[in-house]
């Protein structure tokens, strides 16, 4: 198992304090794209330090905005996002980049660099640590390259290492997307609808891969997903959102039809 041999920490990561069991704590988070039209209203949640936390809810309810506020691809309007003693909402410049490299991200449409090879895409997960000159010459540390080969073996794409990403199928691309995020050796993984562009069978395979790779390494995951059965099957914790508000925060077992009706509205679809 490669996870066991993987060195856990980068030089700048802090030792896990026992008092901080939450991977992330969000307090009073608010986001307005247009003034006076909030997409997120006063979000207060704690993400457990282990396992998968699924954020479920209908399209357009702010799940994507929420996850993007965490690594600041979207600027929060107000509130705090506490991660290992840092308030992510206030970081700027170098401090923000250093926080970002501790947080991996998997995207709905994979967001691979299409014209780069699979290997180059994996190693782009290390770009936070490599100087532009070395990155340009592809001079990555040997340990990064061997970690990339190991991950490619795990996701079953070692034979595709030197193929361009645009030659791959959807499922293969998402495997590369996950491997790229794991290459960061992240302390938190954000996954934004990672299976929404895939067929049902591939979706389950991708979720199994995501769960397996993160469990073995002890990486907590925040998973945006609108597919309730998949969320129930893989999540250890569920947050239900509707209209930019958190309406459920609990175990997957505790999630019943009343909650789903509140989250998604109506009830005909539950039949």
């Amino acid at each position: 198992m490669p996870a066991a041999s993987q060195p856990e920490a980068q030089p700048d990561s802090q030792p896990q304090a026992d008092s901080r069991t939450a991977a992330l704590e969000i307090r009073g988070l608010k986001k307005e794209y247009r003034r006076g039209v909030p997409v997120l209203h006063d979000i207060n949640i704690r993400i457990p330090g282990r396992g998968i936390t699924a954020v479920i809810g209908p399209s357009g309810t702010g799940k994507s905005t929420l996850i993007r506020c965490i690594n600041r691809l979207v600027e929060p309007t107000a509130g705090q996002i506490l991660f290992k003693g840092l308030d992510l909402a206030t970081l700027r410049g170098k401090a923000l980049r250093e926080a970002r490299r501790r947080i991996g991200m998997v995207f709905q449409e994979y967001n691979l660099v299409e014209r780069l090879t699979v290997m180059e895409n994996l190693l782009s997960g290390r770009l936070g640590y490599v100087s532009p000159f070395k990155a340009w010459l592809r001079r990555y540390p040997a340990e990064d390259i061997s970690a990339a080969w190991e991950l490619l073996d795990t996701v079953g794409l070692a034979a595709f290492a030197n193929q361009r990403a645009d030659a791959l199928s959807g499922g293969q691309r998402q495997r590369v997307g996950i491997a790229r995020a794991i290459m960061q050796r992240p302390e938190l993984l954000l996954a934004d609808e990672p299976t929404s562009s895939l067929d049902p069978k591939t979706s389950v395979e991708i979720m199994e891969l995501l769960a397996g790779l993160t469990q073995g390494r002890g990486i907590p995951v925040i998973l945006n997903i609108h597919n309730v059965p998949l969320a129930r099957r893989f999540a250890d914790h569920v947050i239900g959102m509707s209209g930019g508000r958190v309406v459920y925060d609990g175990t997957p077992e505790g999630l019943d039809d009343t909650h789903l009706k509140e989250i998604y509205g109506g009830e005909d679809w539950l039949e």
């Binding site: 690594n71 691809l73 980049r97 250093e98 926080a99 970002r100 490299r101 501790r102 947080i103 991996g104 991200m105 995207f107 449409e109 967001n111 691979l112 660099v113 299409e114 014209r115 780069l116 180059e120 782009s124 997960g125 290390r126 770009l127 936070g128 490599v130 532009p132 990155a135 340009w136 997307g177 790229r180 960061q184």
Partner: protein, 270 residues
């Protein structure tokens, strides 16, 4: 048949499926009318056409056979070599300068206070024909290839940097977002998120501009900025039409070689 009238009403109430674009139609008609009017005042007559053909035939007759006398061939080869030198150096310099200028002019990556001056610079490079810029440089640095190289470098920046900036503005933001999310520095985002998306197009613009520069470098010689153009212009003025044909054939050969080179480069970088 009680439903028929109401269905008719529903059908007639619908807007037309294809709306005619009247402003565009009027513009096309106006263009056609102006073309007819402009032709009518040109004073093109059958007699003029016949004399023209006659002159043309006599001109071509004096061009044949091409003059391949040894001293003239040496002169021509020296001119061709200088033309190639102008084209290669101005393209190389132009490509090198276009990369940063185009990048700084892309409005999706850079702040407005930077893109505006850069776009102004590009517009300035594009505003005059190469021959006019060549005249300015001949005045500045004197006769010879240097003036031609500088003039065509300016023209190359105007073309490559503008199209490169536009190509960058059209890239997929998703790939850039993914690289930013890894905590990459700005330079690394450019190297991995932006450049791979525009490299092929940049190579396309650069090879096209190299091709243009070969053709343009035959032109700037006319105003004394070096290259085969000067020799060609002199042949014209001395009624040396058979030597002129030799030069024209040599230029055609050069352009064809450059075309083959372009195809090869594009295949390498696809």
């Amino acid at each position: 048949m009680t439903t028929a009238p109401s269905m008719d009403a529903a059908v007639s109430a619908r807007p037309p499926a294809f709306v005619p674009n009247w402003p565009a139609r009027i513009a096309w008609i106006a263009l056609a009318l102006y073309a007819c009017y402009a032709t009518s005042i040109l004073d093109v007559s059958w007699a003029r056409f016949v004399t023209g053909i006659d002159n043309g035939i006599r001109f071509i007759g004096r061009m044949l056979p091409p003059d391949t006398e040894a001293s003239k061939m040496t002169l021509m080869l020296r001119g061709l070599y200088e033309t190639l030198e102008i084209a290669v150096l101005s393209s190389a310099l132009g490509i090198l300068l276009s990369l940063p200028i185009g990048l700084l002019a892309a409005r999706n990556l850079m702040p407005p206070w930077l893109t505006w001056p850069m776009r102004l610079l590009i517009a300035l490079c594009r505003s005059f024909h190469q021959v006019i810029i060549a005249i300015l440089f001949v005045k500045a640095v004197g006769f010879g290839a240097l003036a031609g190289i500088l003039a065509l470098t300016v023209a190359s920046i105007g073309f490559i940097a503008k199209l490169f900036a536009e190509a960058i503005e059209e890239i997929s933001a998703k790939q850039v977002e993914a690289i930013r999310a890894t905590g990459a520095s700005f330079m690394n985002v450019i190297l991995y998120g932006v450049l791979p998306q525009v490299l092929t197009r940049f190579v396309g613009f650069a090879t096209y501009q190299f091709d243009s520069n070969i053709r343009n470098s035959t032109m700037v010689g006319i105003v004394g900025a070096g290259g085969i153009g000067g020799t060609m212009f002199a042949a014209f003025q001395k009624f040396d039409y058979d030597y002129l044909l030799t030069i024209l054939l040599a230029i055609i050969a050069l352009i064809m070689v450059s075309e083959a080179l372009q195809n090869w480069v594009k295949k390498v970088y696809q």
